[in-house]
Amino acid sequence: MATIAPRLEFRHIGKTFPGVRALGDVGFAVRAGSVHGLLGENGAGKSTMMKILGGEYIPDEGEVAIDGEVMRFRTAADAIGAGVAVIHQELQYVPELSVMENLLLGRLPTRFGMVDRRQALKWTRERLDALGVDLDPRARLKSLSIGQRQMVEIVKAILRDAKIIALDEPTSSLSHRETEVLFRLVNDLRAQGKAMIYISHRMDEIFELCDAATIFRDGRKVADFDTLEGVTRDELVQRMVGREISDIFGYKPREQGQVRLSVKGVTGRAVPQPMSFDVKAGEILGFFGLVGAGRSEVMRVVYGADRRTGGEVHVDGQPVKASHIRDAIRHGLVFCPEDRKEEGIIGVRSVSENINISARRNHLTAGLFVNDRNEARVADSFIERLRIRTPHRRQEIRLLSGGNQQKAVLSRWLAEKDLRVLIVDEPTRGIDVGAKNEIYNVLYELAARGVAVVMISSELPEVLGVSDRVITMCRGQITAQFTRGEATEENVLAAALPEGASATPMRNV
């Protein structure tokens, strides 16, 4: 087996970003005609590795070899030229163009210098039919579902005749049927001798599709499996997380009080079905579902970030005005968005500004002027309390690591003197394990003070480890509710998956 060079090999790859060591001395090999699973928690370095493979990042150390030959990708075009196709979570297509045009981008057939639409259409139809993909070549990409767009990307890679295809969480937004089509394509590609890397958080998919697997943790390789025969799911999870799960979460039961947040029949543009739920003082309510299940959309409407078209939100029995963020904050209802960089931090402003931006209105001198001394004190106290790693409070926040940025954004709301309800959306996404733990501790502390906490998370262990109660959502609807005692990985996941999707994949467990 070791005599011929593997199709693809990573050798001692290292990559450092300012403040973060994303990968350190990581290597693994992928054989032709095999599907190689790549596992690890968020922030473990999988996506960085894929960007190196795709030529988007240049590694600081180590090399990538194809068929034993060392490659030096400087740009994405280099990687494509070498027969590599990386399909990212964030897809790269032109939304205004049709399926056909996207597939043929840069090489549309021409006649007398004009695009030959008829020939292009015929060609595209033939290819799609041959692959068994049901898509209209003339449909614009923006009119397709995310899953269909994903299929277009995959077809693009196949048509480019790539010999190495990497799929980064391809099923996270696919329907059950689309997933089946994808699996069939992957199996066909394997039979054709392609080398594939498959990243997924879903263990059942890994077992169903992959021949071999590598596990990353905190930017390092922790395990290699030449075969998955006889390997158990628990073994993989254990290696991924690297410690007893209860260790990271450090959950302790708390007293719970009266209902603090009450949501009744709330609707919005992205929330077509009325949503209702309650959260008690001192309670941490976990919201679990697949990406696109509609959890963030609901919370954005509750907070007032998106327009509320119907229903009521009460905090401690008092109504909160619809679509009015400042009224929500006045009632002590606050929200930490999912996308920290786009919606959480103000990158070019200081750590202190980011912490004080909201609560400063309560500390004005003469009702008019910003109280700098007080703001410095508030900022310094949070930097110390939450252990925000920054040289000083005047540092621009964008220069901090993700976990420290998140702690600063949380501090913004902790600084509110009358915090009652905290909604956090994916609070630990892309954050290292140590900082995760610190963020959980903040949530526990708040809950212990009587704050009602709602936590949206796509990480099942996190939801189970931190929440007092779990609500699952699927396709814009609440599908089930579990107390901490009732919730297990199996029943929570089953409730979050679309109808029928749970039947096939679960059997490998």
Partner: protein, 333 residues
């Protein structure tokens, strides 16, 4: 485990060096502008005849007083990641408006009030269209620039409108404690807007919006209200500049202030205001305005042909934007 620790310590050391370097650059940035200005001033004092005299320096200050006033409000506009091209037209329209209304009513005060209100309205329209209708600021103010210029020509019938009242001229000519009134007004603007920027929620929120409008909104900043206020105040100050200019020229002229908006933006950019928003200092803008005025003044004293002055102004702006770009690039690396 030890390996991980070593890597972590290495990374920490690396970032600490990064941060120290960033801090150092920050300090250089902060003082570089003032140093450049002092050097420029010293060189010109030594080389250009008549440059270093009280009369010339007062004249210099007077020549940039309109630009200085509006640069204060333009700073807010740019700091919030917006843009305003309509200020030049507003200057012209306000001057014409003031002259016409003063003549018609016989009261300079009513004339001034009318043109300030007009400026406020123009600014409010800009602000509402940009904030509420979500139309790009560049396009919106390009449109209002044309419209307001048109209004200036229509109301004046294309002619300079002379003012009959003597009181009106004193506004631009009167001296207090050795400095002309327009210079005092400009200095007052720098003080007021400096305090607004640094010491009030309005100023801090302006910078926050420029840094990241979405995050600012989710943090409870009334983004729309702040943006409208920025444009409204800008309209009022531009009108004030127009009134003072008309007073100095003894008439409201519909073609006044052409290219004024670009000079104002140049001065801001020269003063280190980031076009990406979120970064602005009042001292920087003051120095930017002074550099503009000094260069202009020196070129006139050296009898450089007015046609060539355009080249120099353009080159200075290009260099300023380039410096801004380099600064951002270095800081994000």
């Amino acid at each position: 485990m030890t390996e991980t620790n070593a890597a972590a310590i290495g990374a920490a050391r690396e970032t600490q060096a990064d941060r120290r370097r960033a801090l150092l650059w920050q300090i250089v940035d902060d003082y570089s502008l003032i140093l450049i200005f002092i050097a420029l001033f010293a060189v010109l004092s030594l080389t250009v005849q008549y440059f270093f005299s009280w009369d010339n320096v007062v004249g210099l200050a007077l020549s940039v007083s309109q630009i200085g006033m509006v640069a204060c409000t333009m700073m807010f506009c740019l700091a919030s990641r917006d843009f305003d091209l309509s200020v030049g037209s507003t200057v012209a329209f306000a001057g014409v408006m003031c002259a016409i209304v003063s003549n018609a009513t016989g009261s300079v005060v009513i004339g001034i009030a009318a043109s300030l209100v007009a400026g406020a309205l123009i600014g409010a329209v800009n602000g509402v269209v940009i904030a509420k209708l979500k139309i790009n600021a560049l396009i919106t103010t390009l449109a209002t620039m044309e419209i307001v210029r048109g209004l200036a020509f229509i109301t004046s019938q294309g002619q300079a409108v002379g003012v009959t009242s003597e009181a009106f001229f004193t506004l631009g000519a009167l001296e207090l404690f050795g400095l002309p009134v327009p210079v005092w007004v400009t200095l007052a603007c720098f003080v007021v807007f400096g305090v607004l920027l640094n010491k009030t929620i309005y100023g801090r929120n302006t910078l926050a919006i420029g840094g990241n409008p979405d995050a600012a909104r989710l943090a409870g900043v009334s983004v729309d209200r702040v943006r409208i206020a920025i444009f409204l105040i800008q309209g009022v100050v531009a009108a004030l500049a127009g009134i003072i200019l008309a007073s100095r020229m003894t008439s409201g002229q519909p073609n006044a202030g052409e290219g004024f908006e670009l000079n104002v933006i140049s001065a801001c950019v020269l003063g280190g205001v980031s076009l990406m928003g979120g970064r602005a200092t009042i001292s920087g803008v003051l120095v930017g305005v002074l550099i503009m005025g000094t260069v202009q003044n020196a070129m006139s004293l050296m009898n450089i042909d007015a046609f060539y002055q355009y080249l120099v102004r353009g080159a200075i702006l290009l260099i300023a934007v380039l410096v801004d770009q380099l600064k951002n690039r270095r800081q994000s690396r």
